[in-house]
Amino acid sequence: MSSSSLLEINGITKSYPGVIANEDVKFTIKTGEIHALLGENGAGKSTLVKTIYGLVKPDKGLMKLNGNLYSPNEPRDARTCGVAMVFQHFSLFNALTVAENIALGMESPPSIDRLSNKIETISIEYGLPINPEKMVGSLSAGEQQRVEIIRCLLQNPKLLIMDEPTSVLTPNEIKTLFNTLKKLKSEGTSILYISHKLEDIRSICDTATILRGGKNVGTCDPKKENVRNIAEMMIGETIKIPKKKSTISKLVALEVDCLNWVPRDSSQKQLKNISFKLLKGEILGIGGVAGNGQDELTEILSGEVLSNKNTIRLFDNPIGDIGVNKRRLLGLLTAPEERLGHAAIPDMDLIENTNLTAHTRENLVKKSGIVDWEKTHELAKNIIKEFDVRTPNAKVAAGSLSGGNLQKFVIGREVLQKPLVFIVNQPTWGVDAAAASSIRQAILDLASTGSAVIIISQDLDELLELTDNFMAINSGEMSQKINTQGLTVDEIGLMIGGTGAYWKRHD
């Protein structure tokens, strides 16, 4: 059974003006296998996947599904043939409910009430808890992904395409997802699994196809192959492993004292009794399941949301009641989670985006109120050079950069301003291995120059690799601060679940 092929991809070529996205790509997905598609950003994975899903028409090449010629003109054709897809950037409608969102992905949806019951059944069966009546806009990223997955599962797909499925999930959620995928596999469903996380691929995939520069550079069994070999096949060069050099001093850089915050509406999380000290040169990791107060905490620390004057102290200066730009001037810089729309304005170019966060600290606006574009351009060029942002020049709209490149730009823009305290939320979300390793190295280098850093992340391996100390966040409360060294992923999993010895609840 498992040897019969479900989808044959034969010689797919697709070019856009100036770029060849796919060149003569050839591989086979077998029935009931989990097939990994690996590659850096820009390797042509998305184009290939869009071709399979009917969003892109190839210039050349053939696909065969179950031995029959398969050439979907639109996603509807793909869905009718049993091909379903979970997108990386969720294609959901915020102002519609979970059930309505799911109905939109179906050919002939039942009534919303009957659909809601079905959703509940599936969500229990596959361990993906969700309330069908909730507005999607009020859900966390992890919950939104569940909506996408359930939407696909309702169609009983023969082939399920998953684009970067674990990038927003915690270990427990990943375990659940993997159990779901294994269950699907045992039912005979094939899965095309796109990811940068080689460990994930090794633990779940049967076969891996590696793309580089639009070409298939190899197919292997990921369980037999060494992680580094696969990674190097992906990028075509050797990867540097971030080197850590701890230089923690005794000086308190940032102190949060009894932070209590009540949200304005139900989509936000209440923060309760948060207190911690961050030392100069320290890297503090804050981990938790999506939607437990990380975004609210980031906004309060950055100054987007103000608190009491004395709640936040920067080198003993009370800063709780001053805004973002004043905090930047004092040395507290933040890179928020959303690259597009929060950290950078998609339709503005890199020079303009540089000015937006760097103008106070780098004196990019003259006293007369005129923007110093020359100096801004210099800084932008510097960011691009130092952080290896791959772009033709600085006059390119931020939105046209790939995720990894834009993230390198966003991090580089703050790091080059030499922050005393740097807060970064999800530094490597949806970023390829090479870009992630250079971002991580940059954060370590920054800390070794004496800056204090807070990394808020759901990627626990990243927190284990980078941080000196760790705190878990759960339901708006934070655990005690403990030394990261010697912690295991399982221990952290317990902590972010809100249990274990390191919690002192204030009820």
């Binding site: 869009k50 009917g54 996603p75 294609s91 959901l92 409608f93 915020n94």
Partner: protein, 310 residues
């Protein structure tokens, strides 16, 4: 001043008549905006509907044919807007404003020679027993059929948007056109159809003015009704049932204004003309003060141009 000359029956009856044209135009615009398109050309489409309906009715001798002509006129002029914004990807605000100016001009041109004529009218509905009821009968239950068609249309739109798959797709397109495209829905085609529906409704609203409410043809006779219709859509926060309320409220203000004028009250009239817009602003403030609800109101892609890349 003698308020006793105001009869509640006559007031209520004229209120229903005053509300009908703006209700028709507004329900069309609501569908257009729900699909994510902002068409500011309602005024222009109404006046084209008014003149087309009037001419067709006069030439054929039938008010019903007049309505048909108005609907076609509205569809035709809105197709210009649809072509500009959906195919050529022109800016919606500028195209909409241009459509209003174009409509006012073109209607004056083709309506030249039809001023001062009395068009054929509609028979009023007479429901046995019910229309003879005291008060309710003359005030609510003995109007021309269009008054009831208008209300029925709002109910149908509500049903379509909230209960049918196609309505859900239309809302999805207005909410997030990229996601709708990724799911394989035809964003441009859906918006094109919505715009034509909006044009048809505005045309009918205009014809109601020239065939029933006034009834005659004069240049620029819509006199801002299209803008009020736009305001009502916002007032109703894109919900059909609130749109009925808005149309009656704003229609009521017009009636009050006319009656007060007839009574010789001078102050207040200017304030009454401002009232619909002031109320709209207050409603907007109330919507935005509630952080979570506002996201559930205005369609997410409203006014944004959809460009299917790749």
């Amino acid at each position: 001043m003698d308020f006793s000359s105001l009869s509640p029956v006559a007031l209520l009856a004229s209120l229903m008549v005053a509300a009908t044209p703006i209700m028709l135009a507004a329900i069309g615009e609501l569908v257009v905006e729900k699909s994510g398109v902002l068409n500011l050309g309602v005024e222009g489409m109404m006046i084209v509907g008014a003149v087309c309906g009037f001419i067709t009715a006069v030439e054929t001798g039938s008010a019903w044919f007049g309505l048909l002509g108005a609907a076609l006129g509205g569809i035709l002029i809105s197709s210009i807007f649809a072509f500009l914004t959906q195919i050529l990807l022109a800016n919606q605000v500028a195209s909409g404003l241009a459509l209003t100016l174009f409509g006012l001009g073109v209607s004056a041109m083709i309506g030249n020679g039809y001023t001062g004529i009395k068009p054929p009218g509609f028979n009023t509905v007479h429901i046995p027993l019910l229309s003879d009821l005291p008060f309710i009968g003359p005030a609510i239950l003995s109007h021309d059929p269009i008054v009831y068609i208008g209300i029925l249309l709002v109910i149908l739109v509500w049903y379509f948007l909230n209960k049918t798959k196609n309505g859900l797709v239309l809302r999805a397109v207005g909410e997030n056109h990229d996601a709708a495209h990724a799911l394989g829905y035809k964003v441009i085609w859906i918006r094109f159809s919505a715009i034509l529906f909006g044009g048809m409704c505005a045309g009918l609203g205009g014809a109601y003015l020239s065939l029933v409410r006034v009834p005659q043809w004069t240049e620029g006779m819509t006199a801002g009704a299209g803008w009020i219709a736009l305001a009502i859509v916002v007032f109703a926060s894109w919900k059909p049932y609130r749109l009925i309320l808005g149309a009656y409220l704003f229609g009521g203000v017009t009636i009050m204004q006319l009656n007060l004028q007839a009574l010789g009250v001078e102050i207040g009239i200017a304030y009454l003309s401002m009232a619909p817009y002031l109320v709209t602003i207050i409603v907007l403030v109330m919507i935005s003060s509630n952080h979570l609800r506002s996201s559930a109101n205005a369609p997410g892609s409203l006014g944004r141009i959809f460009h299917a890349s790749q």
